[in-house]
Symmetry: C2
Subunit: 353 residues, 2 copies
């Protein structure tokens, strides 16, 4: 059993750990309606691409329950509006539509007059598979770190946003690798960008690391380059940036939380290695490159305000792209549950299909 469980499924009820108020309160919100689940994704009660996918799978199960109760002969027709609504909850993380598609595939194969047991079982399987995949990726990523170590010095690592247990079914993608590497004594320290505007680093990543007693130092996002550079003169030089992803294009371009791209550019300038950790459900072979990945632009109030209070000058505009794209040329390794792709290209990525 995982220590941190962002998503619970109990007796046909979905419970989401409200990530907007972590780490100050650890409260679960219960959901029994697919549209409410979609709103929870939009409002960031739950976030992180794999966690959004799992949540969507349970959302589909809730919709199946609702519409089979209404009319068991017409549920596949009645459910459509809710699934479309759910699919639009957030635009960038492809895991959302991947999970809905996986659930849809079952519709034509299951016992259509009593679909619920099979539908619920698949959602639970998607959830459990995600945790299992994280464990596999954790090991593969830690192996990469081990192979990069020459001599006595253990590298420190830097991560951006939260790609941890909270962003997944449990254990985490980037933080799964960090957990595994820490257990094996391969890394010396974790630096976490605070990750404005939502502070997923300060609130969520730091919380996960503190819970497991992995030493973590927060940085404002702008401090990463300086800390990377100056750490090279210490006995704990930052050697890797390790991040998750919300969507990976067929050529290996990586969409992830805003700030990842700038961090990756700085990582390459300083000779660091860049590791992206994501299940294959995050790969979208339908988009040729990162240029075709839709980037969510959220409300500018998230930038103009902070913790509910107006910080910025009245009258100022703001841009608030929630993600950016790191080109494959800046990525050293994409770690998936099906294996590692080094220096990704379209040809190499096809091996994961």
């Amino acid at each position: 059993m995982e220590t941190i469980q962002p998503i619970l499924w109990e007796n046909g009820v979905l419970k989401l750990l409200d990530q907007r108020i972590l780490p100050h309160s650890e409260d679960y919100i219960s959901y029994q309606n697919c549209r409410d689940v979609a709103d929870a994704i939009t409002d960031m009660v739950v976030r992180g691409a794999p966690a959004i996918g799992i949540t969507a799978a349970y959302g589909v199960a809730l919709a199946v329950k609702k519409y089979t109760d209404v009319d068991v002969n017409r549920w596949q027709e009645l459910i459509e509006d809710d699934l479309i609504y759910l699919s639009k909850a957030r635009p960038t993380a492809i895991n959302l539509n991947w999970a809905i598609d996986e659930m849809r595939k079952l519709f034509s194969q299951c016992n259509v007059l009593n679909p619920l047991p099979e539908v619920q079982a698949l959602a639970i399987k998607i959830h459990q598979d995600d945790i299992d995949n994280n464990r596999i990726m954790g090991k593969l990523g830690a192996d990469l770190i081990r192979e990069s170590i020459t001599g006595e010095i253990k590298p420190a690592v830097i991560t951006h946003c939260n790609a941890g247990a909270l962003a997944t079914g449990g254990y985490g993608t980037a933080l799964g690798v960090i957990r595994s590497a820490w257990e094996q004594g391969l890394i010396s320290h974790v630096y976490a960008d605070e990750t404005r505007p939502w502070l997923q680093g300060a609130r969520l990543t730091a919380w996960e690391m503190v819970k497991e007693e992995i030493p973590v130092s927060l940085l404002v996002d702008g401090a990463a380059s300086h800390v990377i550079k100056t750490s090279q003169q210490t006995d704990a030089p930052i050697g890797w940036i390790i991040v998750g992803s919300d969507r990976i294009a067929a050529n290996g371009d990586v969409a992830n939380k805003i700030g990842t791209y700038g961090l990756a550019v700085n990582a390459k300038y300083h000779g660091l290695k860049v590791m992206v950790v994501a299940p294959t459900s995050t790969i979208d072979f339908k988009v040729a490159s990162g240029n075709d990945i839709p980037i969510e632009e959220r409300s500018n109030q998230e930038v103009l305000n902070f913790a509910g209070s107006k910080q910025s000058a009245k009258g100022a505009l703001a841009r608030n792209p929630a993600f950016d794209v790191t080109p494959a040329e800046l990525v050293d390794a994409i770690v998936t549950e099906k294996g590692v792709v080094l220096k990704p290209t379209t040809d190499k990525m096809l091996n994961l299909k």
Copy 2:
């Protein structure tokens, strides 16, 4: 007369616009004691290297007043402790010690039995010279932008922190160039990094731009790379990053607000030009390179908290370097009141001595 006056000297009293509470309140705090002025610098009532220098000059004038009142024959001896205290108010901005040194030079040349008129006059001159120098730099920097324009497209610019009227005697260094370029119709838009942890961009730069109706869009610091890249496909591509400096080494390495270095690395990756705007009082010919510039590490509470409330996970550590160093190789132009140095090197910098 400048619209924005961060520093006022009225009847022997120093008044500082409290920049910690801008833009929500525009309040001046009065000072009549040198040590209180030093604390105001430490606590960031006033910030920005040139403004710190001007404030320190007035602080010296206040100390001269105090100790000539105590004992006009011993004031040069009695004043020492206060000047040392003042000189330690913040470590990175060299303008602080530059101004104290300028004032000290006068001590041996003035009428020692009645130094106050000359001392006060010099502080006022340092203040006025700074404003005049900003106007000169504004013109020189705008000329560089004009020369970089080919065809119809006017560039947008991005700035970091606040190097505006508030950071100087008035008008500003980086924002002085932006003001001048905007007046001449040379730029299309201003992007301002919000600049965590103190939000000088969101609070101060945005406030200055809004006051003068220069269109400004705030970004979280991590969004700059994405916005730089995607702006290249628009009719207002970001063409320049324009920043101030807290200390420039003899070789042209530039210390400035944390985040500048990472932004400059990204600027070069995208082919932008990097302009640093600072008076020659910011150049420290005693330090050979940026490696020798002391970087202030402020309280980690500034990172762990936000707007007075705890945001981050309990138990997390934090690093809080207040400045970073951008190596000269990333700088296209250093603009001073004595002229412009392109692609700075130690030899070229000596022309400014």
